[in-house]
């Protein structure tokens, strides 16, 4: 619009939204920013510290280790859940009551609250009463998530895969359903193999939902807290202590408000940065290559 008519009343219309966003995002975030640059000792005793907290957080060995664990965890679960989710979506029944039944069954894990998932798996893996822990012990396999870091990792990954793969599967399933039947017919007439159908028809048509799936799963897994906390408490040692648990220990356990505020901001920026880089890369790839989806 080139011919602007000055009308300040428009601001009135934006105002409610501004107030809402202020309370939901800007004010809380600014509070954190406020804490991150000061050392608050008491109601009337505070010192400006500049970037000191940020520097100490970035150089903290324990946090660096937790960050690496966090990145590895996110990458591992993405590497498992995305292909597995696509695979499940491909073999799900397409119509009839079977389709509804499978959909409901597959959605169940998504409906369970995080800490309940942690509790379920905590009990499941116990050597004395847990089905998996007891079963493995009876089979003569040594398995103890409170003593063996490897066991703890495997269990947490299994748990996350069980809890969240259904989300990926459902997104892919909806993507697959939107491909017109004629494409499959055409492929059969062309004598295309199953692999060719997947590679040249299904995968290109799934790109959009996969971008969403990867983004959601990355953000979720990068913020994971309740499940490992309930299952392993971050142990053994600090083998499964992820970023959010380190943050909670610092902020709630030790009341180190300044450092944890700085740390929160870094945490937030990392998630934002990774998501943004991923999204723009994919979108640019699509611009260079053909735009997918549609007829």
């Amino acid at each position: 619009m080139n011919n602007k008519i000055p009308n300040n009343r428009a601001w009135l219309l934006v105002l409610p939204m501004l107030v809402l966003v202020a309370f939901s995002a800007i004010i809380p975030l600014m509070t954190v920013v406020n804490y991150s640059v000061q050392d608050v000792l008491g109601p009337n005793a505070r010192f400006f510290t500049g970037t000191e907290w940020f520097q100490s957080m970035l150089n903290d060995d324990a946090l660096q280790a937790a960050f690496l664990r966090q990145i590895s965890f996110s990458l591992i679960i993405l590497a498992i859940q995305i292909p597995l989710g696509i695979g499940i979506a491909l073999i799900m029944p397409k119509r009839g009551w079977q389709a509804s039944a499978v959909l409901i069954l597959i959605t169940l894990p998504l409906l369970i609250p995080w800490n309940v998932v942690g509790s379920i798996w905590q009990i499941f893996t116990r050597g004395d009463i847990g089905l998996m822990g007891w079963g493995l012990r009876e089979l003569g396999i040594e398995y103890n998530i409170t003593r063996n870091a490897g066991d703890a990792w495997v269990t947490i990954i299994l748990m996350d895969v069980w809890h969240w793969t259904p989300l990926v599967a459902m997104l892919c399933y909806s993507g697959l359903r939107s491909i017109p039947e004629a494409y499959y017919q055409a492929a059969r007439i062309d004598r295309a193999s199953k692999w060719a159908v997947f590679r040249y028809i299904q995968l290109p048509k799934l790109t959009n939902v996969l971008v969403i799936a990867v983004l959601l799963r990355f953000m979720h897994s990068f913020m994971i807290y309740a499940e490992p906390f309930v299952l392993t408490g971050g142990g053994p040692g600090s083998a499964t202590t992820f970023l959010s648990q380190s943050l909670t220990t610092m902020a709630v356990g030790q009341q180190d408000l300044g450092p944890s505020a700085a740390f929160s901001l870094i945490y937030f920026l990392v998630i934002l940065l990774v998501s943004w880089v991923f999204y723009t890369t994919i979108m640019n790839m699509q611009k260079d290559k053909p735009p997918h989806g549609g007829a």
Binding site: Q185, R188, I189, D190, A192, A196, Y200
Partner: protein
């Protein structure tokens, strides 16, 4: 190759989609399946392709029973109403895909793709992706994929429906030429009588899963074997007026008497449905024996450079097909001339009992 469908029935979930179709297609023939939506055109094509086996009946190709041979083992190609191409492949790779799957050498593929692309006028688009093309170009690419294979049977399932009017005519003409030199059987499904007439070849008229008539397109048009066939194969549909035939005259609606054509006198006296093509009704008398009817205008539909004029006589409605654009106001009184020598007659079972003699060079729509 020749294709013979023998007494095909196809029932899906208890609903008959195809009933008792028997149809033999000659090698090198161009065949049009004409019928309204749900007439069974697409189902019949799926059966021909082998995408699914018929519930009953046999499909014979070159004397061999292939009823249960899967589509992967038959040499078929198909073009759809939607523009179906591989979205992540260029036009070149899309057209080349059937040959690549058949593992042809690279140089041979290059040459074939070049020829096909030239034939379809898309040689300048080979490096583009389907999404970057117009609808017509996308459909040309899909046709290229179907044509490159040298299939024994090529099926076109209303391929031009989603294209604009001009493009449709252009592609239709080219399509006809593409098949002149080929030895494969082409089957083309359409809902439009005019498209069938423009394509020529043979036409099979389908209605509610049944084959009404099959023969050379012109002949099926001029000599429909029944009332349904005549109605399916005319746009606007042929006018049907119930009437009574006596020794000397025809009565429409107990009130409208006129002397009948000599040839009609050979029929048994009784009740018949009389048909007259919309294009045979006129606003000026053409012959001395034309019957003048007083009618009122319902609506005038303008389609391209033609006008479909809907009118009603006291007891029955009529449609006129006029060339050129004409304006009429609703309820305007008109005189319409009814050619009494050009009447089709159908008995009460719907079979054709009389076909008017051909007029030299008369325009048909």
């Amino acid at each position: 190759m020749s294709l013979h469908l023998q007494n095909i029935d196809h029932i899906v979930n208890g609903v008959p989609h195809i009933s008792g179709i028997d149809l033999a297609l000659e090698p090198g023939s161009f065949n049009v399946l004409l019928g309204r939506t749900l007439a069974g055109k697409t189902t019949l094509m799926r059966l021909m392709a082998g995408l699914e086996p018929p519930t009953r009946g046999k499909i014979i190709i070159d004397g061999k029973d292939v009823t249960n041979v899967s589509v992967r083992k038959r040499n078929v190609s198909m073009v759809y109403q939607q523009f179906i191409n591989y979205p992540s492949l260029t036009v070149y790779d899309n057209i080349a895909s059937p040959l690549k799957l058949a593992k042809h050498p690279k140089s041979a593929i290059d040459k074939r793709v070049g020829e096909i692309a030239e034939m379809l006028h898309i040689e300048h688009l080979l490096n583009r992706y389907p999404q970057e093309l117009s609808g017509g170009q996308q459909q040309r690419t899909a046709m290229g994929r179907a044509l490159i294979k040298d299939a024994d049977l090529i099926l076109f399932d209303e391929p031009l429906v989603n294209l604009d009017y001009k493009l449709r005519e252009e592609l239709r003409d080219e399509l006809r030429d593409l098949f002149q030199a080929r030895n494969c059987i082409a089957v083309y499904a359409t809902t439009e009588p005019n498209e069938a007439l423009a394509l020529g070849g043979n036409t099979a008229v389908l209605h509610e899963g049944k084959l009404l008539q099959y023969g050379p397109t012109e002949q099926v048009y001029r000599e429909p074997n029944g009332r349904f066939s005549a109605e399916m194969f005319s746009e606007p549909p042929i006018n049907i007026v119930p009437g009574r035939l006596t020794d000397t005259e025809i009565t429409f609606d107990q009130s409208l008497h006129f002397p009948c054509d000599d040839k009609l006198k050979r029929l048994e006296p009784g009740d018949y449905d009389f048909g007259v093509r919309a294009s045979h009704l006129t606003l000026q008398p053409q012959r001395a024996d034309d019957l003048a009817l007083d009618v009122h205008v319902d609506v005038a539909e303008i389609s391209g450079s033609e006008t479909f004029l809907h009118v009603h006589h006291e007891r029955f409605p009529l449609v006129l097909h006029l060339s050129g654009i004409h304006q009429f106001s609703v309820n305007e009184p008109l005189k319409v001339y009814f050619p009494t020598h050009q009447l089709y007659a159908f008995d009460k079972q719907g079979h054709t009992v009389h076909i008017p003699a051909r007029q030299g060079g008369a325009a048909h729509g």
